[in-house]
Structure formats: structure tokens, C-alpha cells
């Protein structure tokens, strides 16, 4: 038992909490008296948010095991659970490695004083537009000397924030609709994830990135061409090296149709792509996709940040991919083995810093674009990721939070009380797609305003002048090696 549900005297017995709780933690005995089943509570905060009297409290259960310096409560509980079931522990959302530093919190930003002026974004233009794609090595001219536009197709973002891949199946169609509508309004992109693209979302193709993952669910020619870009997903930060498993319970109706998987059958994404066992195979898949789409769309390759991420990224850059998307240790998921989620991969800050540096040493950083994701919580995280070397960031968990998620990390149960990570029609209808889109637009607009404010403070009036601008950052509470990898100086140095 993790949590304890309590109520106080102000309860008016309206039973709203009973209706809201999708985990069966609050029921009504004989339709009247509330009964709390603490062991089922996930602390999703749905009942608390909807209680009209403010009468409900969810607290950590105060019954603790005897304190032990090595085996914590959670450790012991997990052992008990595994002893009982013999199963792999499942979890969702991002890693919970408590001793893995969040480097974003250990970097501070610069600002202009005296020697150059800060710029007020309310008075002066402040540019946040980003173009993602490949760049040729050299400018070319025609016979009359005019410059030829020899750039391959680019994605154009009005703000350097996009939405991460989350599949239809893992999340509901309503969430996809909200993301697509918000991306269109914001002038950015949302990403289908590996579960295909529902036909009702085809009108959003200009702002859609479609994903090709190892299961190839929902991949067909129309799908590839109903997008602004195609992403080949090799891995994700929450579970590098691991495939996916969407249970047959979620493969119903349109999910089945969109994924092109028979109803009720588990959808299993293999750990590797079985046509990519090496880098040269990746180059072939990139080329195949470009052929199918008439070389009109950039191809993204998404990988999880792992130990040798720098040479991996370099290999991808040389594979013909236009954009490299790197998902860090804290990246979220709808379901992953807990040990994998918490113990595999490296933080995005270190990954981006070493990839950016490596691509520069190999003189190919300007050839490709780099997207960072995995634990971007706010606009300053985004600014720091860009200053370390990313072109843009993408957000998954933060976007879900805008739609109601309180990160109870129970996505894998399929019972999401906020109607996000579930296919239960009774739950999915809890998300009003228009309202949801508006909240996503608000969130990204708010971040964009803050990004402009931070840039202006540094005297930078266009986002490309921030990219890889490591002097915009300094470190605090970091050792010499960490500073070296991040390529920044210590505060005050």
C-alpha cells in the first residue's frame, strides 16, 4: 500500500469521487457510504481535483517498514511483488533514478550587463523560428551567378518546441486530436508515435510527423505521405534496447484498424528493426522512405541516449537522415520494464552536449539538425538544451500534464483517470479535445514568451544564435569532468 485516502467533515457525500476514480480505489457501499481501497490508489489526484468540497486527501501511507540503509520500502515491496508473481516489474512515465542528477538544475543562464544591451522582446523583434533539416556542404550558383536554393526540404517551426511521439493505443485518439490541433495552431509538429495515424487526423498532415518503428504498425504509403516528416524510431529514452508491447485489451475498434493489427491481438514491437542490424541498413531504410515520399520530406532518426551516443549520432548523420532526435534517460513511456526505465541510458543534457561536440569535431554539425527530448519540464530546460547544442526540443510528459496528467505513472494499467493513456470510452471522453488543444497552445505560447524573455536578457534576438552557445551557460555543483562534457565553465570562473 503506497497511499492512504482520507476525507474530512466537509464531505457532502455527492459520490463524485466514486464516479471519477477509475482504479476502483473509492467505491460506494450500497450506493451511499464511501469505501476507500487504499491499495488500489495511484495518487492520480483525479478525486482531489474534482471533489466540490475539497474534502479528500491522498497522503503517503505512514505505515513504514523498518528503516534500512540498503533496502528501502519500495525495494522491499518490489521483492514481495515479484516473489508473488514471478513477473517483470512494469512502470510508466520517465525514469525515477533518484541519484541521477538533473543537470538542467545544475546549469545557470547568463544575462547582459553594461557591456552590451539586453533586448526587450516587447519592443524589439525576437525570433524563435527554427528550420530543421539537412544542409548541403556548399552554396551553388547558376550560370548567371544567382544563388540556387539547394536546400533539401526542411521542417519550419515557429517555436523550438514540438510534441514527442506518443502512439494511438498508448494514448487515446482524443489526445492525438488535441496534439494535432495544437501543433497546427502553434506552427509546430506533433508525432504519431508507432501506432499509425487515425484517418480523422489526415487534415493535420502539414503539422504531423509519422513514425516508422520496429513493429511497422499502421505503416503504408498513404501514411508516409500524410506527414511533414517521417521518423524512424530506433529507440526511446525510457526503454533503450527494448521493444514495445501493447496488450490486446487496447487493440480494439479503431486502434486495431489504425495499427493494422487484428482486434484483441497483442501488438508487439520487436526490440530491433529486423531490417536494421547495422548502420548501413539504416541508410537503406532512410533512402527507401525518401524514395516512397519523392524526396519531399525530411527523415528523422530517433534514438535513445546511450553510452556511445556521440558516434551513433555521427553514424546517423552520415546515413542520409536529415534530423537526429535524441531521447534522454528521463524520457517518458506508456509502459516499460521498471529496471530498464530506471537503469538504462544517460541524461539528455550530457548526450546533447557530447553529440553536438562530436558532430562539430567531425565538421558535420551544420549538415544535420538535432532534437532533444527526455525530461524537458519548462522553458528554461528548453533554453539550456538549445544552448548545449540542440536545434529544438520535444515534450511528451509536459504536454500530457497540460491535458490533466498528474504523473501517477500508471499508464501501463490502461485505467488513466484523466482519460489520456487509456482506450476505455468512458474515460477517453473525459478529455475535451478543443479545450485540450487550447491548453497545449497556452502552454507552448507561455514557454515561447519565456524563451524570448531569457534570450532578450542575454542580448540574443534570434534562436539560432543561442544554439550551441555554451557561454550562455555556467555550471553549479558539478565536477570537472561534468563541466568538460557539458563544455561549460563553473559559475564565477
Amino acid at each position: 500500500m503506497r497511499y492512504r485516502i482520507r476525507k474530512d467533515d466537509s464531505c457532502i457525500s455527492c459520490l463524485r469521487c466514486v464516479r471519477e476514480c477509475s482504479f476502483g480505489a473509492i467505491t460506494a457501499e450500497s450506493g451511499k457510504a464511501l469505501a476507500f481501497h487504499h491499495d488500489k490508489c495511484t495518487d492520480c489526484q483525479r478525486c482531489v481535483s474534482f471533489c466540490p468540497a475539497g474534502a479528500i486527501y491522498i497522503t503517503e501511507d505512514e505505515n513504514r517498514f523498518r528503516k534500512n540503509a540498503v533496502f528501502s520500502d519500495d525495494e522491499i515491496k518490489e521483492i514481495l511483488l515479484q516473489a508473488e508473481t514471478g513477473g517483470v516489474l512494469l512502470s510508466s512515465m520517465g525514469a525515477s533514478g533518484k541519484n541521477v542528477p538533473i543537470y538542467f538544475d545544475k546549469m545557470l543562464l547568463n544575462a547582459s550587463q553594461v557591456t552590451n544591451p539586453s533586448i526587450d522582446p516587447l519592443r524589439e523583434p525576437m525570433e524563435t523560428a527554427v528550420f530543421l533539416g539537412r544542409r548541403p556542404e556548399k552554396a551553388e550558383r547558376d550560370i548567371s551567378g544567382r544563388i540556387i536554393d539547394n536546400l533539401p526540404p526542411h521542417l519550419e517551426l515557429r517555436t523550438p518546441v514540438m510534441f514527442s511521439a506518443m502512439s494511438y493505443g498508448a494514448i487515446s485518439l482524443n489526445v492525438h486530436k488535441a496534439l494535432a490541433a495544437a501543433a497546427e495552431k502553434l506552427g509546430t509538429y506533433w508525432n504519431t508515435g508507432e501506432g499509425g495515424l487515425h484517418e480523422s487526423l489526415y487534415p493535420y498532415k502539414k503539422n504531423t510527423i509519422v513514425q516508422v518503428a520496429s513493429g511497422r504498425f499502421g505503416v503504408h504509403e498513404t501514411y508516409l505521405n500524410t506527414a511533414a516528416a517521417i521518423e524512424i524510431k530506433i529507440g526511446q529514452g525510457a526503454k533503450p534496447g527494448i521493444g514495445g508491447h501493447l496488450t490486446g485489451r487496447k487493440i480494439i475498434g479503431d486502434v486495431s484498424k489504425t495499427r493494422m493489427v487484428p482486434e484483441g491481438l497483442d501488438a508487439i514491437s520487436p526490440a530491433p528493426h529486423h531490417d536494421i542490424y547495422s548502420i548501413e541498413d539504416l541508410a537503406q531504410l532512410v533512402m527507401s522512405i525518401k524514395e516512397v515520399t519523392g524526396h519531399r520530406k525530411p527523415v528523422i532518426v530517433k534514438v535513445a541516449a546511450v553510452h556511445n551516443i556521440a558516434p551513433i549520432a555521427s553514424g546517423i548523420a552520415r546515413s542520409g537522415a536529415d534530423i537526429i532526435s535524441i531521447d534522454g534517460y528521463r524520457g517518458g513511456t506508456g509502459a516499460a520494464p521498471k529496471r530498464i526505465r530506471d537503469n538504462v541510458g544517460i541524461p539528455i543534457e550530457l548526450a546533447i552536449a557530447s553529440v553536438d561536440q562530436r558532430l562539430r569535431e567531425e565538421r558535420i554539425r551544420d549538415r544535420v539538425s538535432v532534437i532533444a527530448s527526455g525530461g524537458i519540464r519548462n522553458s528554461s530546460d528548453a533554453v539550456k538544451a538549445i544552448a548545449l547544442g540542440a536545434d529544438a526540443v520535444s515534450i511528451g510528459t509536459a504536454a500530457l500534464c497540460a491535458l490533466g496528467c498528474h504523473i501517477c505513472a500508471s499508464c501501463h494499467t490502461g485505467r488513466c483517470a484523466w482519460g489520456l493513456a487509456t482506450q476505455d470510452p468512458e474515460l477517453t471522453k473525459r478529455l475535451d479535445t478543443e479545450k485540450g488543444a487550447e491548453r497545449l497552445v497556452n502552454l507552448v505560447n507561455a514557454w515561447t514568451r519565456e524563451i524570448k524573455e531569457i534570450m532578450g536578457g542575454m542580448g540574443i534576438n534570434s534562436i539560432e544564435a543561442l544554439r550551441g552557445n555554451r557561454m550562455a551557460l555556467c555550471g553549479i555543483d558539478l565536477n570537472a569532468k561534468e563541466l568538460e562534457i557539458l563544455g561549460i565553465r563553473y559559475a564565477g570562473e
Partner: protein
């Protein structure tokens, strides 16, 4: 305390330039008079001049001005040069002792040309061959610093006020068709000779007033293409960017100005289609070389001079014309002192390059 080159120092400044479109060669007296008016914009920690057309008798050879900390570094550098170049002439650069300038390094001048068989084996053109050699000296020979290495031009710089630097180098004895000058106001440095302006590579020289906020993004980008920013100064990185864009990417200086001080997207959006495509292309293709933050620069090159402000015009820059002579300066007073009745005097807009070239010659 770390010296410049190990740590980045910001600085304010004064700049001035004179360019004779008819190629008439004038002595350094006018430019000294102009920059001296702006004495208060410098703090005695750096001044310098670039002059074009000063070595007509050696105009086909690369003229190297080099600072040495010691005889050892001189000997090492000369051995390095002799292995790669024909040294046509070498001498100390004549200086005048003045109490205002002290701690001078050894200052030498060489006229050189690449050894033909080595040049051929290198598969480079002579510009690239020479620029690589000078970058190598700066990078790897301790205590040696190449101040300039173009043809029929040279840079004269020191720690001190610019008018004193002029006296020290006896610049009234040189005659050139193009002159730029710089007075420096670094914020916290003991002053370092090599850190003074102008900064140059081959025929390109830059004097700069400002502090760019995009510095590290620009530095890390240009270092990808074989440049190494040893001084950590804005001017150095601007010079390398211009060299890369013009010499390696084949852009004109005007196009380069549209990269480093690119028009805003909103401005590009209202241009006609051809111009919109062209300007968008330059921004997208060379986005790493956009320079933000305040700057006003004068770029000297063979047969021309360009003045450019940052796109918000966060630093003062005035231009004037009188007959065949074009003037640029941080302050109008510095132009009026040498030409009190110009035909035209104006403040170029932010991001608008003003380019003067010798009559009958196309710009770079």
C-alpha cells in the same frame, strides 16, 4: 590573472575608416587625426590601423607582420616559414620610441611567396596555403603571433591609445588608398598586443566596436571549418566568418552581410518572391553565422571597404562622402575633423552594408 586569449574579454571601442575610390594613396596622418578625436572611447589598452596599397613594390608577395615574444620564437617561426615559403625580404618594422608605448614585442615584417613545388603538392591555392601556415604559427609556435598576412597591405597595432600607436609605427610614412583604425576599451584586461585590432586573415581586416551575444555559437561553428579562435575576441570570430563565407563559400560581401546581420523574417516575408527565396536561403543555409548583439564593423579587403551595423543598430556608425573619398566612423565628429564639408553624411541603417570599392572594380 588569466590573460586575453585564455578568457574572453568584452570591450567597447571607436572605429574609423577612409577609402579613396580613385586609388589615390594618402598617408596615415588623416586616419590618426580622425581616430584621435574619439580618445575617450578608448582606454589606452589597444589601438591599431590597417592600410591597403602600402607595399606597391612587393604587391605580388604576401606581407607578414609578426609579433614575437622572444628571439627563440622568431627563430622557430623563421625556420617554419623558410621551409614553406620563399622569403623575398625580411626586416624589423621601423618604430619610433615613445613613452606612451611600452613592453613592445619584437615586430618583424616578411615578404614571402609559397615554394612552388610545395604549393603544387598541397593541392591548395596560394591563399589557403598561406592562411593555413599562419594559423599554424599562431596555434603552435609559442610566443609568435601573425598580425597580418595579406598582399600589399598590413596591420599596425599595439597596446596604447591609437594616436600613440600611430606615432610608434610612424604610420605617416606609409601611403595607402584605404585605412581603418581602432581604439579599444576592454573591460578587464592588462592589454595584450595581439588582442588589439584590426584583426586580419589574408587580405581581410576587421575593426569592430561591440560585444556580440552570439559569440560562442559563432565560434564553435567557424571552428568546424579549420579556423581556431585563439584570442576569444569577437573581431577574430567575425574575421574568420567573413573569410569562410567569401573565400570558401563564394558569397559576396553583400551576401555575407545578409548572413551575419540577416534581415528579420518579418522583413524577408514582405520582399518579392525571388528576393524572399534568396534571403531565406542565406538565413537557413548559414544560420550558425548569424551574429546577434551590438556591433559596428569596418571590413577592409583588397580594393574595397565595407561598413556594417548589427541588425538592430545597437552601435553608432556614420558614413560620409566627399568626391572620391568615403569616410566611416563611430562618431560624426571624427569625420568632420578631417572633412568638414562632406557632400553627403548619413547613418547607415542596422544590417545595411555600405560597400566602397575602387572605381572600375567589382566588389568582393
Amino acid at each position: 590573472m588569466r590573460k586575453e586569449g585564455e578568457v574572453r574579454i568584452s570591450s567597447g571601442c571607436a572605429i574609423s575608416g577612409i577609402f579613396c575610390r580613385d586609388g589615390k594613396r594618402i598617408t596615415g596622418e588623416a586616419i590618426k587625426k580622425s581616430i584621435a578625436v574619439m580618445h575617450n572611447r578608448s582606454n589606452g589598452l589597444g589601438g591599431g590601423f590597417a592600410a591597403y596599397g602600402i607595399y606597391p613594390q612587393y604587391k605580388d608577395y604576401f606581407a607578414l607582420h609578426i609579433f614575437y615574444d622572444s628571439q627563440t620564437s622568431r627563430e622557430e617561426s623563421e625556420r617554419f616559414l623558410a621551409k614553406r615559403f620563399d622569403i623575398i625580404n625580411l626586416s624589423k618594422i621601423p618604430v619610433r620610441q615613445t613613452p606612451m608605448i611600452s613592453d613592445a614585442p619584437l615586430i618583424w615584417r616578411y615578404f614571402i611567396t609559397p615554394l612552388p613545388h610545395l604549393l603544387q603538392d598541397s593541392q591548395l591555392d596560394e591563399d589557403e596555403y598561406t592562411s593555413r601556415a599562419t594559423i599554424m604559427i599562431n596555434d603552435s609556435i609559442d610566443g609568435a603571433y601573425v598580425v597580418s598576412c595579406g598582399k600589399d597591405m598590413g596591420v599596425f597595432k599595439a597596446v596604447g591609445y591609437p594616436e600613440d600607436v600611430a606615432d610608434f609605427y610612424r604610420i605617416e610614412e606609409y601611403e595607402g588608398y584605404s585605412w581603418t583604425a581602432h581604439g579599444r576599451y576592454p573591460t578587464n584586461t592588462p592589454g595584450w598586443w595581439a588582442g588589439s585590432h584590426p584583426f586580419s586573415l589574408l587580405d581581410l581586416t576587421v575593426v569592430h566596436n561591440g560585444e556580440i551575444s552570439s559569440y560562442d555559437a559563432n565560434r564553435r561553428a567557424v571552428e568546424m571549418y579549420g579556423y581556431s579562435c585563439n584570442l576569444l575576441t569577437d573581431t577574430e570570430v567575425i574575421t574568420y566568418i567573413l573569410d569562410y563565407l567569401t573565400r570558401k563559400q563564394g558569397l559576396t560581401l553583400k551576401e555575407s552581410s545578409e548572413v551575419i546581420a540577416a534581415p528579420f523574417w518579418t522583413t524577408i516575408a514582405i520582399k518579392d518572391e525571388e528576393e524572399r527565396i534568396r534571403l531565406s536561403y542565406l538565413r537557413k543555409m548559414f544560420s550558425s553565422f548569424l551574429i546577434t548583439g551590438p556591433f559596428s564593423i569596418l571590413v577592409g579587403f583588397r580594393g574595397g571597404m565595407m561598413a556594417l551595423n548589427d541588425r538592430l543598430k545597437l552601435r553608432s556608425l556614420v558614413a560620409a562622402e566627399k568626391g572620391n573619398v568615403v569616410y566611416f566612423s563611430s562618431e560624426e565628429a571624427a569625420i568632420r575633423v578631417i572633412e568638414d564639408n562632406p557632400d553627403r553624411i548619413w547613418a547607415p541603417r542596422g544590417g545595411e552594408a555600405v560597400i566602397a570599392t575602387l572605381n572600375g572594380e567589382a566588389g568582393l
